[in-house]
């Protein structure tokens, strides 16, 4: 009951924010110079046909009424049409978001697998090579441009060693993709028992995931290290130590107490990467949602950009809700 009320309040709180996001992005994107009508019909189109098209797309009405109409459509799940793909944006995004989500989910899992244990090790050891490595890793990982690391990895593992397929897209052109269940090609081919598709999609996934994992392990490492360090110095840990509990038990308690803040940083990273993985998507021609939005901005294609912003806002909302549920599971104080 407590939980439901909490979530309800949370959603109520978010609706005005969502409105603000759509409002700002709508007027921002409308300000981008470039006439979609000219881009669609080409420079040789007659003034008359241009006018007709603008009229049809609603561009001749005042901005306010365009905005009201857009809001009206969004509420019904209609995000308009992209003139580049000539498809409804909702459809496009449903195709592309799974690609992005697959990439960043596996990327963050790898980042956790690297950053979490390293952070705990660094928090336990005040000195020594592990600590030093963790200190430098945290700073270096945040300093490295992800698109550059992606290129270096391509050079090493594709050009030199030739261990992975050409870094283009999510699966070989010649391989038939598995039927869509989860949207992740790797998991779907696993479910379908299709080994060809599995090895191909896995081969394509590995480098972008490695890129995101190596870079995002930095903040996870830092957060883990600082919270575990702080908990290890706290009163309840000192008390547990005084009671003579074995080190392992104490450490486990400390890690458990540090989990909520680690969950927080992971969820923040996840929300950030929805749009923040776009450079990696571009390097690997991943065909994800971020890439779609960037193409939209560069070609004055308004609807995909707006659609992307709306989609990612809703998605981060869902993520933060899930995180709240996790807090309830992790932190007994929240249940009180």
């Amino acid at each position: 009951m407590h939980l439901l009320r909490y979530i309800g309040r949370r959603i109520l709180f978010v609706i005005p924010q969502l409105f603000g996001i759509i409002l700002v992005s709508f007027f921002l994107v409308k300000l981008i110079p470039g006439d979609p009508a000219v881009m669609m019909l080409g420079p040789t189109a007659s003034e008359e046909s241009l006018h007709d098209l603008r009229d049809k797309m609603g561009f001749t009405k005042p901005l306010i009424s365009q905005f009201v109409r857009y809001l009206h459509d969004v509420v019904r799940g209609d995000l308009g049409t992209s003139w580049q793909t000539t498809q409804p944006v909702t459809e496009d995004l449903f195709q592309r978001f799974p690609a992005t989500l697959e990439l960043i989910t596996f990327g963050l899992l790898l980042a956790i697998a690297i950053g979490f244990p390293l952070g705990i090790a660094a928090a336990r050891l005040k000195r020594g090579p592990v600590r030093k490595f963790a200190d430098y890793y945290g700073l270096l990982a945040g300093a490295m441009p992800d698109f550059w690391l992606a290129l270096v990895l391509i050079y090493v593992f594709y050009t030199k060693l030739n261990w992975i397929p050409a870094p283009l897209g999510r699966i070989d052109m010649a391989v038939v993709p598995p039927p869509t269940v989860t949207g992740s090609l790797v998991i779907d081919s696993l479910l379908a028992g299709d080994l060809d598709a599995l090895s191909s999609s896995f081969g394509h996934l590995i480098l972008p995931v490695l890129t995101l994992g190596l870079i995002n392990a930095g903040p996870i490492l830092k957060m883990t290290q600082s919270t575990v360090e702080r908990t290890l110095a706290s009163d309840f840990v000192r008390y547990a130590e005084m009671c003579g509990l074995p080190r392992r038990v104490v450490l486990r308690q400390a890690i458990r107490a540090a989990l909520p803040s680690i969950v927080t940083i992971v969820s923040v990273l996840y929300g950030f990467l929805i749009g923040g993985a776009v450079l990696v998507e571009i390097v690997f021609s991943w065909g994800g949602a971020g890439q779609y939005a960037v193409q939209g901005v560069l070609n004055a294609d308004v609807n995909p950009v707006l659609g992307f912003v709306v989609f990612s806002a809703v998605l981060s909302l869902i993520i933060y809700l899930l995180v709240d549920l996790l807090y309830f599971a992790l932190d007994p104080r929240m249940r009180g």
Binding site: Q17, P145, W148
Partner: protein, 314 residues
């Protein structure tokens, strides 16, 4: 930058002899001795800034001069870092790039810090007072929420697109996406400081709001902002390079690390790694240096650290 920070930290009893600036210098030296990585950070930043200033004097070739006879040469004594696909000397271009990258990043960051910190200080100072000012504070904070909910990179590209592709637009975009960070930071600081006794004392003594803010609150709240400033310059360099990488930032022949990496993209796949790898290293090192300087400012501004180090503990 460091001097001002330590001024903020100089609240501890003066145990060491000598004039204040000398104590600060000694403290600074002690911090650098205890954490040699910080010294490395200052060295990198100094080096990058110096190259940015001196680039026209030290580059061996024109950074925008393409010589079609020498395209894609691997590193050699003639061309220390090789040449790119159009025959431009990569060493010269890597050295010339900080001029563009750092100028953009520093300007953008400074604008956002000035803007964000000012608004944040005012908002924090007036928050919770039962007047129309509270409503304004709430509105500003909600607006910051909205701005921060945007996907940063897409937002930045859209801003550049709106203002037209130019250096000025990139600066505006960087300023825009970073302002909420300083707003929040400063607000949080001011919220905690304005409750302190000396602020109350100033109020009781009849000081005006402006005087209290300028003379008592802001000087004591500024240290984290300065630490963030340095880290943020690094991020902004990354953002500038990222924008240029997708073609929404600095345009091609101008020497800029991100666009150099993009130019070398195709070459990397076919085996010529140098056009992309070297600018990336320069870029990463720069961001790393600024992050270290930021971390050092955090330590320098922390009174607890000051006590530890002046007791010559490590």
């Amino acid at each position: 930058m460091a001097g001002a920070t330590m001024a903020a930290a100089a609240g501890a009893p003066a145990a060491a002899p000598g004039p204040p600036w000398r104590q600060r210098l000694r403290f600074f030296a002690a911090v650098l001795r205890a954490r040699p990585a910080f010294a490395l950070g200052y060295a990198i930043v100094a080096l990058v800034v110096a190259t940015g200033v001196l680039a026209p004097l030290i580059v061996p070739y024109g950074p925008m001069v393409a010589d079609p006879n020498v395209y894609l040469l691997p590193p050699s004594w003639q061309h220390l870092l090789g040449t790119d696909g159009t025959g431009m000397d990569i060493f010269s271009r890597v050295l010339a790039a900080p001029r563009v990258d750092l100028t953009i990043a520093m300007l953008g960051t400074l604008v956002s810090a000035a803007l964000g910190a000012t608004i944040g200080a005012i908002v924090g100072y007036y928050e919770g007072q039962r007047t129309w000012r509270t409503a304004l504070s709430t509105f500003v904070m909600r607006a910051a929420d909205v701005l921060q909910a945007f996907p940063v990179f897409v937002f930045a590209i859209a801003l550049v697109a709106v203002f037209g592709q130019s250096v000025r637009s990139i600066v505006i975009a960087i300023a825009f996406v970073n302002t909420p960070i300083y707003l929040r930071l400063m607000r949080g600081q001011v919220l905690s400081i304005r409750r302190l006794r000396y602020v109350e004392a100033a109020y009781v003594a009849g000081a005006s709001d402006v005087a209290i803010l300028l003379r008592h609150v802001i000087p004591n709240a500024i240290a984290p902002v300065l630490a963030q400033l340095s880290v943020n310059v690094g991020w902004s360099v990354l953002l500038t390079a990222g924008l240029s990488f997708v073609g929404a930032g600095v345009v091609a022949p101008t020497p800029e690390w991100g666009s150099m990496i993009a130019m070398g993209f195709q070459n990397v796949v076919t085996g010529q790694w140098w056009p992309s790898v070297f600018p990336g290293i320069a870029l990463g090192l720069t961001v790393f240096g600024f992050a270290l300087v930021g971390a050092s400012i955090e330590v320098l501004a922390d009174p607890a650290q000051r006590r530890v180090l002046s007791g010559s503990l490590r």
